[in-house]
Symmetry: none
C-alpha cells in the first residue's frame, strides 16, 4: 500500500513556511467568523485549471465547485442526490454570494469525450458518458461541423457549454430571482491553458474576448 | 447586472505577472502533452480549504474534485448523473492516478448542516439535505452524543465522513482492484482551517494525527 | 529486599545542588508562613503528567491532588473515607484557593480501562473497576461509538470526564457558593503527553482548544 | 468568573521553551511505548512537597499518588470507591513497579489537624476528619505526650504515620507477595520542607536518618 504521498507533505511544508506563516491571523479570523466569500466559481477538475491559481485567490475569497467539464445541470428537485445543485443552493441561499462564475478551459477532457462518438465507456457504469449527456444533443450537433477542425469544434463546444451552464443556472428559482433583483451576477470565462490567456464572456452577446488588464 | 468582478481580474493580472510569467513554459508543455496528474484530491468547496493552496500544488499536479463536504457516494451505476462518480471514473480509468486523497476540514458547513436536526431546507428542493443524506443515519448517531460538545461532534463527524468516503471509494470495482494490485493508494486528511494544521489518516486504525514535517 | 532506590537519591542530590540551592530561602519562608497556594490542581498519577512539570511550578505554588484518571466524586458526606473530597474540603475551606484546575491527559490508563468491557479486574478487590465506575454509564455510552476509532473514543472520554469532574466539583456546597460569589474559578485542561500541547477548556462550551501562548 | 490562571499559562510557556524543547523526543517515545515507571511515590498534596521536584524526576519516571497526609488505608475490598487503593492496585498489578515510596513531610496540615482535638470540622461533611481518622487512636495517643513540644509531636506523628502507611501497604496481598518474592521494595522518607533535608527510613528499625549523598 502507498504511504501518504511525499509531494503532498512537502507541499504542505511549503505552505506552512510560506503562505500560512504570512496569513495565519487571517486563517484564525476566518475560522471564527465563518466563511463569507462573495464569489462562487464552478470550474473543471482539470489539473491545469485551478481557479485559486488563475485568479490568485486566498483563503476565504472564493467558494469553489469543481466537476468534470464545469457543467451545471437544470434545476431538478426530484429527490435525487445532486452535488452541483447542492453547492449552488448553499452558495446562493446560505452564503449569499454576489457572483457566480462558470470557468471553462481549453483542451477539456470531458468535452473531448463528449465530441468523440466512437469513445468507449471507461467503465460499465459509464458515469462520464451519463454526466456529459447533460449536454444533450449539443455535442452531436457541434460534431457535425466538418468544416471546422477538431480543435475548433473543441473550443466551440467548451464555450457553448459555458453559455449552457449559465442558462441552466437561471433555471434555479433563487438564482433567477436574485439576478433580476440585481443581487447576483452570472459570469462566464474560458481559460486557455496553453497561453495562460483568460477570455471573459460578454453577458449580452455571449462572445468571449480578452479583457484589457494592462492597467490592473 | 454585475460586471465581471474586479477582484477576479486583479487576481488574474497577479497570476500573469507572477506565477504564469515563471511557469509559462510548463503551461505550454502541459497543454501539448495533456494532463498527467498522479494524484486526485476530493475536497470541499469551502473557500478556506483549497487543495492547491494547502499542498502548494502547481499546474498539472493534482486533479481536483470539489463538492459540499468532500463526500464520495457508493458506486451506483444506475444510469443517473453522478458528478463525483464521473470524476473518479475519469481519474482512475483515464488519467490512471496513483493516489486519491479525500481531504476534509474543520468547521465544514455541510457537516454542520447534517448535524442540525432543526435546520430548515435552504430551498424546497433541499439539495443540501439530500446530498448530506448520503451519510445515512451516521449524523444522527453522532448527534446523540450529548456528552460531547457540539464542536467535538462536528470534528468527529468530519473524520468519520472521511473514513466513510474512503470506504465508498472501494465500492468502485476499478478502485478496489487497483488498490489490491498496489497501483492505487487511498488516503485521508483533515485540514484545521483555524490553525493550518494538517492531520493525516492512518490507513490501519483510521486515526488522524499530525505528521512530523520538520524534516521535510 | 530493595535498598532505597539509587535514582531517587541521585535525583535528590540534583535537587539540593540545583533548585534548592537557588530557592532555599523560599523554602524556609514557606515553612514559617505556612503554605498559601492560590491554586489546587487535580491531576492523574500518570508519570508523564506531573502538574509541577507541565506548569513549571515551584514550592508553595500549587496544592496537588493526584489520583487515577483525575476523577472528582460527587459530594457525599456519608461518613466514609473520601480522599479526594478531603483534599477539596481542605483546599477550599482551609487554604481558600482561588482556582481549582482539573487536569486530564491523553492515553490515560484509567480511562482506557473504563472503555474496555473485556478487561479483567487486576485483583479480586477490583479497586480500579470500582474507582472508574464513578463515571457511571458514560464509558459504556462512549464505547458504543463504533464510528469513532478507539483513539478518538479515548480522547472523547478523557475530555468528557474532565467536564464531569468540574460538574461534580460544583456539587460541593462551598465550591458552588464561592464560585457564584466570584471567589473561586473552576478550570479544565487536557495535556497531550505525546506532543506536549496543553488544551484549555472553554468554561461556556466545554470545548478544549490550545491557548495562544506565543505572547507569554 | 475567573479566566484560566495567567501564572499557569506562563509556567506552561516556560515548560515548552525549556524542559519540553529538550525532551520532546522522550515525550513522544513515552506516549507510544506507554508509561513504564519503576517507582510509585505516595506523597502529600502539600505545595511544598512535590516528589518530582524533590527527586528531580522527569516524565515517565515516577507514578505519583498524592492525598492529604500521604496516607495508605488498609486493604478493604468492600466494593467502595477507594482512590488510594485503586492507584496501588494499578501500580503493582499493571505497571508492576519495583518500589513504592511513602513520602511524608514536615508541617503537614493533615497531621496537624489530626493532633488538634479542638479543631472544628471544615464542613458538615468533615471529610478531613474522616480521612485522618484512618490513623485510628494513634494521633490521640501521640497527643498525650505532654513532655514533647507540639512541634516534636507533629514530627513524631508524621513519621509514625509513614511507618503505619507502609504496614498498611503490606495488607494488600499482591504487595506482600511481591515483597516476599523480592520483586517489590517498600520505602519511607520524610522531607523537611524548611531545610530541604531528606530523611530516609531504615526498613529494619523504622528510624529516619539522612543518607550520605555527598558522593552522589
Amino acid at each position: 500500500m502507498h504511504s501518504f504521498p511525499d509531494e503532498l507533505l512537502q507541499g504542505y511544508a511549503n505552505f506552512l513556511s510560506g503562505r500560512f506563516s504570512r496569513e495565519h491571523a487571517r486563517y484564525r479570523e476566518l475560522a471564527q467568523a465563518g466563511q463569507q466569500p462573495t464569489t462562487m466559481i464552478i470550474a473543471c477538475c482539470d489539473s491545469r485549471s485551478a481557479p485559486e491559481t488563475v485568479f490568485d485567490m486566498g483563503p476565504g475569497e472564493v467558494f469553489v465547485l469543481r466537476n468534470v467539464a464545469n457543467l451545471v445541470p437544470l434545476y431538478e428537485p426530484d429527490g435525487g442526490q445532486h452535488g452541483t445543485s447542492a453547492a449552488i443552493e448553499f452558495a446562493v441561499n446560505s452564503l449569499e454570494v454576489e457572483n457566480i462564475l462558470v470557468m471553462g478551459h481549453g483542451r477539456c477532457g470531458g468535452i473531448k469525450a463528449a465530441l468523440d462518438p466512437s469513445m468507449q465507456p471507461l467503465d460499465a457504469g459509464d458515469f462520464i458518458g451519463k454526466w456529459m449527456s447533460m449536454l444533450g444533443p449539443v455535442p452531436g450537433q457541434v460534431g457535425q461541423n466538418s468544416l471546422m477542425t477538431a480543435s475548433e469544434r473543441q473550443t466551440a463546444l467548451e464555450r457553448i457549454s459555458i453559455r449552457n451552464s449559465i442558462t441552466n443556472l437561471r433555471s434555479f428559482p433563487y438564482v433567477r430571482q436574485r439576478e433580476q433583483e440585481g443581487r447576483l451576477g452570472l459570469h462566464g470565462a474560458w481559460f486557455d491553458i496553453s497561453t495562460g490567456e483568460l477570455w471573459v464572456m460578454d453577458p449580452e452577446s455571449g462572445d468571449f474576448s480578452r479583457p484589457d488588464i494592462a492597467a490592473q
